[in-house]
Symmetry: C2
Subunit: 238 residues, 2 copies
């Protein structure tokens, strides 16, 4: 009944088009529209923090992190905290979310200054998706946000198996780049220290005798991956 | 009625003492006791990940992060995302949580190997508090976890005003240490770059002409604080 009333109100609103687009995106009829309008406002359009989506992005990022954590906790009952942390960071990282947001069509809804060339690297659509999650939370509460994230984001757009296997790909990608370009790459263990009751390893990536990046982790494999990922970014290997 | 039944069951349980201690800590009668027992089991006692609290710590850490985010979002309607991020990290950092956990008396409940000397630096009580939040969430859901965190943790144990002002203390503490020990300290701006649509500053701390640490931030003050905090840790200034 309440939902029906909300729909009728929106039908007469000047934002009818926005409401229809949001319904499609969210899988339900939005209640308090200003939350969603705020979520879609990038600071390149309005600098004032009360009127752009950066505060909502902070909130949505946190809510998303906790819902993904619970999802992984239940999906992988026999995996370690380190494994879940790593997988979660792949799901919620800027590149992944920006890609998801664009596939969801958020670039058609976000208000931003299209003449600002610096924006291309700043993942504004992924950030707006986080802000949208914040808006859903304020409008509808935790349970609805949880089902929005699971049904409208994770299920259709996140391929967990592929994300899991990109794990080993950083090192492989770096090695195949080196072979193509006749470079020598070595992974050197710089440091092994004890933090609390755990060992932390630091691995350096050395290319043609020059140290390029370092990475730390609870084991050498993980540390090597972190270092390799940084190297791939620094060398702009696609 | 359900709560009454749970209490009666616990009354006849061999864990009556634990239930009473948890009631005091949580402010309600626990439902499914094994969640809480798991939350209180440190890996120094049981290495096997299905029987210690590390997975629950991962879950609880995420839930805590989102509830603190919402709390700050509502408490500071006119503060930036950067401000809230910084304040949240002070609330949820290991040192703060470990201190809170000890004041809550968690050291009397956590099962750990007391002969393991490496544990003193590893914040096991703060980590157990995060695991306990995970247990509350699995047992009682989001709303109850939210009120547990607000009423039993933040309100009695977190002094937001003091945490806010520790902000400027890193720099002050470093400067007063330098004066006492006749050292010269300078804060040098190493770098200003644009990331997306924002400036990022990097500040170095130079002591007696030698660069000790660097820190990055969205403004010079923030970058200086990050660098000063690192310097304080490296120099073991208490």
């Amino acid at each position: 009944m309440r939902r029906f009333t909300t729909r009728i109100l929106h039908f007469f609103s000047p934002n009818k088009q926005l409401v229809l687009q949001l319904e499609h995106l969210l899988g339900y009829t939005p209640g308090h529209l200003p939350y969603y309008q705020l979520a879609l406002m990038h600071r390149s359009k309005i600098e004032e923090l009360a009127y752009n989506n950066e505060r909502l992005e902070f909130l949505g990022d946190a809510i998303l992190g906790s819902i993904v954590a619970e999802y992984l906790f239940k999906k992988y009952p026999y995996q370690s905290e380190g494994y879940m942390t790593e997988l979660r960071s792949k799901i919620v990282r800027r590149e992944t979310l920006n890609n998801v947001a664009m596939r969801m069509g958020l670039q058609k809804l976000v208000q931003y200054n299209q003449n600002d060339r610096g924006l291309s690297r700043s993942h504004i659509f992924g950030n707006a998706l986080e802000a949208l999650i914040g808006a859903v939370y304020l409008d509808k509460g935790f349970a609805k946000t949880r089902s929005f994230i699971l049904k409208q984001i994770i299920k259709p757009y996140i391929d967990i198996d592929t994300l899991e296997s990109t794990d080993t790909n950083y090192k492989n990608r770096l090695l195949s780049w080196a072979q193509k370009n006749s470079k020598t790459v070595s992974f050197d263990t710089l440091d092994e220290k004890i933090e609390g009751s755990r060992k932390i390893f630091t691995i350096a990536i050395v290319i043609d005798g020059q140290q390029l990046t370092t990475g730390a982790g609870y084991n050498k494999k993980e540390a090597g991956q972190v270092a390799a990922q940084k190297a791939i970014e620094q060398l702009h290997i696609s």
